[in-house]
Amino acid sequence: MSRPGFRLQRRTTAARHQAAAVKVVGALAALLLAGIVLQLSGRPTLDLASAALDYNLGDWFGIEETLLLAAPIVLGALAVYLCFRIRLWNIGIDGQMSMGAVASAAVGLHVDGPEALMLAAMVVAGALGGALWALIPGVLRAYFQINEIITTLLLNLVALQIVVYLSVTAWADGGVSLRSTSPIPYEVPMLSAGLDVGVLVPLLVAGVLALVLGRSRWGYETTIIGANARAGEAAGMSVRRRIVLVMMASGAIAGLSGMLQVAGRLHVLSEDVAANTGLYGFIVAALAGASIVAIIVVGVLIAMLLHSGISLATDGVSTDVVVAVYGLILLLASLGEVAARYRLIPRRRSRPAE
């Protein structure tokens, strides 16, 4: 009665390697699809691709630019990843980053002191700014069950307006730039001509997260609560407080990232401080799954794509195209988690009825 061949069967556990493989295939398919569309719209895809590679890896300057873009994306992805561990969707990295930047800029612009001390103060202010901004959705989610996706997204819009107001009106430079504050007098030390110490921070944060989540009691509790909050509660963990704390820790990482922009790459507070890097970080975290190493690798790749979009602006490709490609990658790669739940098995032959 049954057809020969194979059929799909759903299984109770996810196969991680299968998920990773499907994601890679999905991302490549998305790039291929985007390439075909570009080709059809009269833009020579292969030429663009080789030019993009050249811009990214062709010289030290290109590599530096890519790493500068990658650092906040990876930090954002790590912050998102931390929330994933407890099943929270923090889509508010951009807002938390912005408020971290605002807090550290406030310190940097309005307080005088020795450079090292002031940088430390700005780090604290940045982390605190991000953490407090994340406290709002954290509390609303933990104690009132208000969907954190919507609140974090709305708070992004609020934070952006605050940054615009401060940089254009309240703390405006008045002379040199109409769109930013005057330069922050304190700067993160440089590693090379184009790179500051900030590019190392993601690695540091990644290391700390790996240790805390993988080895500590706090990380264990967070993992259990994320997998089954009720089981965590029954075992004596305080779930609501942990949701708020994780959200705040995630916001602190984002805020730190905002501080690194203000005291590093940008040197000022302007509306470019977040520039959707949190959203890109979200894509990275979603693609990388449960692996911190994968977050760093995927983060750099996503940054290369973004850098290509910026560099190729004169050749008819824009960051808007890159954003659309991001969407396509995320869409196709999201099949990974679904595919991991299936296996292909041979059909059974039917037994004859007795």
């Binding site: 009665m1 049954s2 556990t13 080895r215 997998a227 029954a234």
Partner: protein, 512 residues
């Protein structure tokens, strides 16, 4: 096959993951018969019923009805072929009313109709079939018996000639069971065919005309009820004679481990779930709590484990007032908890066996050191726990706990909780859905705690289990204690009446 059969399944096979749940099963249902599908938990009864109802797609096999061969690919097709099913876990939308649940997905429902019209139609249908349901009440406010009647109505009005019921008596009071059996006999007498899925021998013998026994996914035998005995059926079900009852130890002590006084709480939707409940559990005593689900059992278990804060009243363990304290405080006082739904409350399914095994011990030495978890110690601890609990299939303790069978998951939970339950073990439906061997292991675990001088609060819907294990039985009805019985002289009928609300706490005569 006889032409008269309302449904005939031939060679049905179905597998999940790597396990073969059904292996070439044949089944024939004639008009006018109540046909029992008997088997232990895990024998494949529910899977077979789900295949016949179009919920699961069989890997192999044919299903014939008078209309011809159906390859029921969906419940819709099965319904069209006259096959309807009442699931053990009711398929009702809780937020919708009785009338709405009856009318959803039904082609006879008027295209445009307001709540009033649907309710009137429902009232008429209830009258026609003699099954009483409140059309205007949202389902979450209904008793289990009422929900079941609603499910049966829903299947009948769609013209089902074959009615399948999966473990329909599991959640009913004895009085409600009698009502259900009357209804089923009338349906059969009207020419329908009823498939009664159960693991309870006595009920099956009482209600059915023919009995098909499943074991390990295969049909063991089909017997007419008149020509078989409970002993024969038990042997067919299990493949061996029934094991003797568990041995009982000494009498309970005098000191109270758990004292609950005047406790009231609210459950979901702000409904009052417990109203002024008082009782005590002694050292070395198993106190059984009987009652139909939804009468406050879950809330009671949560109050005495710290998961729910009482609005009024006190809860104390060994004399220490703990009402409203955190689950951590209860755990520190030596209270363990085997919840009714292990995957919802006791285990984190996607986490590893190890992560689930250490959940009661991770926060103190030897597992915890300076805020970190010693992985070597955790691994040794887990290996030991798994071995002591007799959990099979956990050779890789890094694998997700969800790959273990239900019985092995429950053994892990029961052992983990019993280990830390120095003073009190709270167990909710601890053997539900388990095969005989696993259920036996869990019952022994409860008795072992009793023997060690701890108190055990056993909350169950299975009266046989309660009477076998408990020293005393309390009946919970609508959030209050509706009767207390000593297990020795317990009168099943009177407990049954109390479960249905027929006994007043004051001892007033039964109203039912």
């Amino acid at each position: 096959m006889s032409d008269a059969a309302l449904l005939a399944a031939e060679g049905i096979s179905k597998s999940f993951d790597q396990t073969l749940a059904l292996d070439g099963v044949d089944l024939k249902l004639d008009p006018g018969e109540v046909h029992a599908l008997l088997g232990e938990n895990g024998a494949g009864k529910t899977t077979l019923a789900n295949v016949l109802a179009g919920i699961y797609r069989p890997d192999a096999g044919v299903i014939r009805t008078p209309g011809g061969v159906v390859s029921a690919q969906s419940p819709r097709e099965a319904i069209a072929a006259g096959v309807g099913m009442v699931h053990q876990h009711f398929r009702l939308a809780e937020a919708l009313t009785g009338a709405e649940n009856l009318h959803l997905g039904w082609s006879d429902t008027p295209r445009f109709a307001g709540p009033r019209l649907l309710a009137e139609r429902t009232d008429r249908i209830c009258e026609e079939y003699g099954l009483k349901v409140d059309a205007r009440l949202p389902v979450w406010q209904m008793s289990v018996g009422e929900r079941q009647r609603l499910e049966i109505l829903r299947v009948l009005v769609r013209g089902a000639r074959v009615l399948m019921l999966d473990e329909p008596t599991a959640v009913l009071t004895p009085t409600e069971v009698d009502g259900l059996f009357d209804a089923l006999r009338k349906l059969a007498a009207a020419g329908r065919s009823v498939l009664f899925v159960s693991h309870k021998l006595n009920e099956v013998l009482e209600i059915s005309d023919r009995i098909t026994v499943l074991r390990g996914g295969r049909v063991e035998a089909t017997r007419s009820a008149a020509s078989t005995t409970a002993a024969e059926l038990a042997r067919l079900m299990t493949g061996h004679e029934t094991p003797p009852g568990a041995p009982r130890g000494a009498r309970p002590g005098d000191a109270a481990v758990l004292e609950v006084e005047g406790v009231s709480v609210r459950g979901s939707h702000g409904r009052r779930a417990l109203a002024g409940v008082s009782f005590a559990v002694q050292e070395g005593e198993i106190l059984g709590i009987a009652g139909v689900s939804g009468n406050g059992q879950t809330e009671l278990a949560e109050v005495v484990t710290g998961l729910r804060t009482p609005e009024e009243g006190s809860v104390s363990v060994d004399g220490e007032q703990l009402g409203g304290a955190s689950p951590r405080r209860f755990a520190a006082a030596g209270v363990g908890y085997i919840p009714a739904d292990r995957m919802a409350t006791a285990l984190a399914g996607s986490c590893s066996v190890l992560e689930n095994a250490i959940v009661r011990d991770y926060d103190r030495p030897p597992l915890a050191r300076y805020g970190m978890i010693d992985r070597g110690a955790a691994r040794r601890f887990t290996a030991e726990l798994v071995a002591e609990a007799g959990v099979r299939g956990a050779d890789d303790i890094g694998a997700p706990v969800s790959i273990l069978s239900g019985g092995n998951q429950q053994k892990l939970v029961a052992h983990r909780e019993a280990r830390m339950a120095r003073r009190l073990l709270v167990a909710c439906l601890p053997t539900r859905g388990l095969d005989v061997a696993a259920a036996h292991a869990i019952r022994n675990k409860l008795l072992e705690r009793r023997g060690a001088g701890a108190g055990v609060l056993l909350i169950s819907e299975d009266l046989d289990e309660l009477l076998e294990l408990s020293d005393r039985v309390l009946v919970l009805y609508e959030g209050a204690i509706a009767g207390e019985f000593s297990a020795g002289g317990a009168d099943r009928d009177r407990i049954g009446i109390a479960m249905g609300g027929g006994l007043r706490p004051a001892g007033a005569p039964a109203a039912a």
